[in-house]
Amino acid sequence: MTAASPELTARLGQPWKKPPLIRQAWLRIALSLGAVVYLAAAVSTVEVNWSRVYEGLDRGAAFILSFTRPDFLTRGSDIWEGLSESLIMTVAASVVGIAISIPIGLGAARNIAPLPVYLICRSIIALSRALQEVIVAILLVAIFGFGPLAGFLTLSFATIGFLSKLLAEDIEAMDRTQAEAIRATGAGWTQWINYGVQPQVMPRLIGLSMYRVDINFRESAILGLVGAGGIGATLNTAFDRYEFDTAAAVLLLIIGIVMFLEYLSGVVRARVQ
């Protein structure tokens, strides 16, 4: 038997202790102290009108109860109109957004794009990702007027930032040897992209596109709040008028459609991957 190392001898006979998440003691203490101080400061500045909250509890209960008897019919035509507008915006914006994000994604991949193109495409992506959908929608409504066009443009713009970034990352992580093999056959640039790059990223692109359709629908539900078309306006009105039955119906429809889209994207992803 070999002699135990000094480290082991020191440990022997002592009860086991769970190793801490952060090894340095001072950092651990400083972080937890900072967290406590921040939390105290944050909680103390949250002003809550407890009597108003208490009054609202009845309304909350009424709202939860209204899920058991959602009212699809009283405002049926409004709901239908808003919902179909949301779906139309989703489809159109997803198609246009995906179509635009493919060239931008190609341009934002460092291994196939020259530096100037790369920088331009990356800044487009950064801009699109940094701007919140709702804020873009507000500006576009101010510029293009109320209606689904502003929502359509907002969603397309947001799609570009999301899809191009992930597509570019996927292209950057692709297998170089396949692309090189195509190149060695004397293929031109478009052929190279089409046969060397595209087959490698296609499954993921399809999966991401499906996911983005799902996100676009969810986002389209709120664009109506700022006048950019879709179901949001109906929902806002229903809340303002305390028509919880109608609001519950709209929410159930949104949840249902999102679940369906998620299921669909699961099926599609399982098939392509």
Binding site: G60, I88, I135, G145, G147, A247, L251, M259
Partner: protein, 272 residues
């Protein structure tokens, strides 16, 4: 192998058979038709005069919005602090609720796959599919406008996201460690604390920072519906057409978003 016959009867390689090509072509045709129909619906409800006029309007707004009114920042410090609190407290609350939901939803830790798991999954889907702005609208109708509504909206909206990622992490853990801890005679809770929790801790930390970053973004606009934070100032400035203030607020939001994304990326790369 799909082949077609050349002029002199030799076989030429093709990627698809005629039937496959037809099906694909029809699918594309249907897709294009749906898109064109959607586009027509959008264009029917659009006032095209406004659209042609848009470049002028955009230029006009830009002229009005520049330069930003820098002195207005004095009034923004409190809303910025509120926004940060909404995001952070909302994330903490969400995590507190998401952890039990995730354990109930993960196939290997749920007490019953037939009853409790579907219920947990339903919570995840329904909280995830409704945007925080809608939750805020709802909460404002119930508990009145203010920061609390914002915090709760962010918290509820984040449950689904955090719980989904977390339960996927739980399902991917290494069974051997759990078995080893069980073999020492550990109780159910001890297995949880020493076999499962250490394995999902990195994922948990990553998810919380990631969600915090998203929540900073979302909390900047919650004020538009009255749920506190800097969005309140934004909607006030928009309603009074105070464009120099709007541009300053937008710059602040942009800066906050970029900063939070940078912090989150740094922390996540330090953990993983």
């Amino acid at each position: 192998m799909p082949v077609s016959e050349g002029n002199s009867g030799e076989k030429i390689w093709r990627r698809r058979t005629t039937g496959e090509a037809m099906v694909r072509w029809l699918a594309w045709l249907a897709g294009v038709a749906v898109f064109v129909w959607c586009w027509n619906r959008i264009s029917a409800t659009t006032t095209w005069f406004f659209v042609w006029d848009a470049p002028r309007i955009a230029g006009d707004i830009f002229d009005r919005a520049t330069p930003p009114r820098w002195s207005y920042i004095e009034k923004l410090w409190v809303p910025i602090w509120d926004t940060l609190n909404i995001a952070t407290l909302g994330t903490i609350l969400a995590l507190l609720m998401a952890v039990p939901v995730a354990f109930l939803a993960a196939r290997n830790t749920t007490p019953s796959t037939r009853f409790i798991r579907p219920a947990a999954l339903l919570v995840i889907v329904s909280t995830r599919s409704i945007n925080s702005l809608i939750w805020a609208l709802l909460l404002i109708a119930i508990i009145g406008p203010g920061i609390l509504a914002g915090i709760l909206a962010i918290a509820i909206r984040s449950i689904g996201f955090c719980a989904k990622l977390l339960y996927e992490a739980i399902e991917e853990i290494d069974r051997k460690q759990v078995e080893a801890v069980t073999a020492t005679g550990a109780s159910r809770w001890q297995v949880m604390a020493f076999g499962i929790v250490p394995q999902i801790m990195p994922a948990f930390a990553g998810i919380s920072v990631f969600r915090w970053d998203i929540n900073i973004r979302e909390s900047t606009v919650l004020g538009l519906v009255g749920a506190g934070g800097i969005g309140l100032q934004l909607s006030g400035s928009l309603n009074t057409l105070a464009w120099p203030q709007v541009s300053l607020i937008l710059l602040v939001i942009l800066f906050a978003v970029v900063l939070s994304e940078w912090i989150s990326a740094k922390v996540r790369s330090a953990i993983i």
